[in-house]
Amino acid sequence: MALTGLDIFKQLPKTNCKDCGSPTCLAFAMALANGKASLDQCPHVSEAAKENLGAASAPPVRTVKVGVGEQEIVMGDETVLFRHDKTFYHETAVAVQVSDTLSGAELDAKIEKINGLVLERVGQKVAINLVAITNCSGNAATFKAAVEAVAAKAQFALLLVSEDVAALEAALPAVAAKKPLIYAATAENWEKVVALAKANNVPVVVKGNGLDDTAALVEKVAAQYKELVIDFGSRQQAKTLAEHVNARRLAIKKKFRPFGYPMLAWTSATDPKEEILEATTYVAKYASIVVVKADEKHHLLPLFAWRMNIYTDPQKPMAVKATIYEIGEVTPDSPVYICTNFALTYFAVEGEVSASKIPGYIVAVDTDGASVLTAWAAGKFVAEPIYEFVKDCGVLDKVNHNSIVIPGHVAIISGKLKEKSGYDVIVGPQEAAGIPAFAKARYPQLMK
């Protein structure tokens, strides 16, 4: 069980020396209890206290890293079961499979396709994270050749998939500097595979068969090496889901060490769309890596969006700076669109104003990152604050008119806003998607 701030405080020197950066020992203890500080920040803590607190203050899910440099993926270190309890920290990595039966031009084409799986949505880069080279050939030399070819060209971290020790031994050393994840240590081969991982300083997946079997295997492996990722071995969706939820609950609520590692899941459907739905379940419920075959942008984009949403920090709304934005080559005739500073609202409006081919100003009113209706309900996107913001930001000094376009969803405030400000308040479309048609109808003379 996690220690409280007071339990931790009792073990600290209680000198309030501030060397840790906190004003008092009690404040430091509270920060430790909340996972916001680590014990090594205190230079004066006794060895006894370190031992007592070390185990208790260790995170419930170990942090494991794969890849190096820009390709590095950080997994684990999660502290809650529900995103609404706090937040999830390290997004599920998506691994795309490449069979080692491909070679030459075919393999090159596949790698090139996979390297293209970097997309952009709402102003952010979204991409796959790993290439999983599978030893379908069953041949160690073929596997080694494919791994090296992928390592030379792929822009992502590597997952080496073979339960054959000889194949892993052949392929790993040449690419060990890239810190690939190797798959898998099983009941049959674990001693050799774990020794290989340890010797090459790379993380390893421990693949068991169900909850009890996997726990027993992880305990054996962890006694020697702790850079682990768990695969419970199930390939059935409801079973994998149950294993993941149960394992994460035990890790977080009971500090059950054998399940205190990142988890990896495989999809099993052959239809790529069915596969993405399976992966959707695993992203929601605790997979640190999901391995798929799908390699088309239109199939992966929805999965990336889901991952982005689940790992959005609920403690801080995604906000853009509340200010004036100029979209395109604005002139004094350009329309002025009013929206909130919730990132998704802003990006949607920005995209549509840009698509309308009529340059315009967007004023992102400070709503603490709340969306239009939420901010309206909270009184942050109503006549008075909108008027104050528009007036203070000076956007109307940049144009030769005094009209502003407000979102159709808050049409209800238009009268009051007009009365308050004296502006010509135009009710725009309800959805950002309606902006191009709206702008074309209203400002045909401004078309670029």
């Binding site: 529900f82 952009e120 059935q236 959707t280 379940t281």
Partner: protein, 323 residues
Amino acid sequence: MATNILKEKYSSKINTVTIGATKEQGGTRTSTVTVGGDASAPFLHYEGEIPLKPVAALEIQDIAPTDWDPILQKVYAEVSGDPVTWAKKAVEFGADLIYLKLAGSHPDNGDKSPEECAKIVKDVLAAVGVPLIVVGSGVEEKDNAVWPVVAEAAAGENLVIGSAQQEKYKSLAAACMVYKHKLLALSPLDINICKQLNILITEMGLPAESILIDPSTAALGYGIEYTYSILERGRLGALQGDKMLAMPVLLQIGYEAWRSKEAIAPEEDFPNWGNQEERAILWEAVTAAGLLQGGANIAVLRHPESLRLLKKNSEELMVKPEL
């Protein structure tokens, strides 16, 4: 059974609600749909009973929608504008129930009278055997006039009628009480308002077991995490005994997903997003599959392929595993 298992102890479960009525039950449906009864977090069969699978409805409208994406228009080209043939088509596609939106009752969209709306509902009931969800155009005054007439005309059919909201629930609650229908209660992404609305409706005398809730559906990429977290919190609250959160959840997935930019942007404009049709179908299906993990009971969809995908996914999740 494995020993390394931590089960949560819950004191309650989601209400079990049946939609539709067969001849013996006073209606004319050839099949009914029953949802809810979940006694654990979504699909954790080892923890509590999950007796009923989530179901999927296809959305149809009484008039041809002009704002639906061409991909959807193509699918329904031959039936759009005729709710009777459209409903039959939806059943052919495998819909467990039909979600009929009376879009033509909107004052700006034909302003159909309550009696005309009632006739459409009767015609659709006569054409298909599956249960029906009927929602108004969303214009308060008009909905208040349409609901009682539709409810009376379909008395005995055990429809779901919606959508009641915080400021407009009385006439619908009264109509559902008198004519024995289920009520759909819509709240704006706020668990307290969701609860409050259920309290207001039950205080009028409509039993909690006659309510389905829509806590507002946000699409993938456009705030779905809010809906997801509200669903998770609502499910936990219900399992811990909060009767005012124990209603099965209906989500308007299709409506939201099909206005997301990623669903409707043509490939020419966004070549880096790939094929639009595949992307749009998955946008709808992933919205639904993601929210199944929060605790959705009824997904209202638009495309037959996302319906197929969601049903397949639900079936896999309903397989009770040996742990």
